[in-house]
Amino acid sequence: MAETLPVELLIPCDPQYLSVVRLVVAGIGGRAGLTIDDIDDLKVAVSEACTNTIDHAFADGEGAPQPATIMIRFAPRQGELRIEVEDVGQGFDPDRVPVRPDQPPSLEGGLGLYLIHQLTDSVEVQSAPGSGTKVIMTKRAAR
């Protein structure tokens, strides 16, 4: 009973399923003991990561595998919920889109990763051109 198996959700790269993803965030966040406020934060963070996949991962259809999907993995643990959003799209160099945690970015774009950083307790972006993207977010339950 030390660790629970993750719940996995696979959706097409289509914004109409973002609301379904948020329902699952709410359901599993509740089971993991997160507060309503924490769940609200996670809903935005996870949606942003999914929207990034939809907008950027298969940008011009090139390199898009058949079919283009988003994999979201929910791993509730002792006192925290870890969520991974993964795609096998074109990837990017995370060092070239640095997020400054201290100030909001220009409003012309680039808000997504900033919100993800602000709304979770820890974020890791694993990506490289040509090899897909995985965003790993953790939210800890307040005690």
């Binding site: 609200d40 934060d41 935005v44 942003e48 929207t51 907008d55 909001p104 409003l107 808000l111 900033y114």
Partner: protein, 128 residues
Amino acid sequence: MKVQTKTEDDWLAVLSVSGEMDAFTAPEFRNCLDETLEKGIAWILVDLGEVEYIDSVALGILIGSAKCVTERGGGLAVVCNRTNVLRVFDISGTRELLNVCQAESESRRLLEQQRTATVNSSAPEGGQ
């Protein structure tokens, strides 16, 4: 998400939004705004009182809408009092830019003031 539009006193349009405003639904808000602009109205009160969720795409569309109405000599203000939605405005630093108020009366007064100021400054010699 649903949007209801109500025109008031020939100059102000109140767009009341309910539901979730995300990458899937927010473009529909922009459609409603464009319809209002086509009728020649550029003062917009966006009532998010019944909105449970917004994300960066919705924010981007609200910011684009604000720019658009300003270019046409109008203005936009947002009413919102849900903590989780206000939080997204705060973190993104867009509360001032979007004239976010927690009470409808407040945002209405704000738009009225801006309009009076605009009318006065744009017609300095026609002043009574």
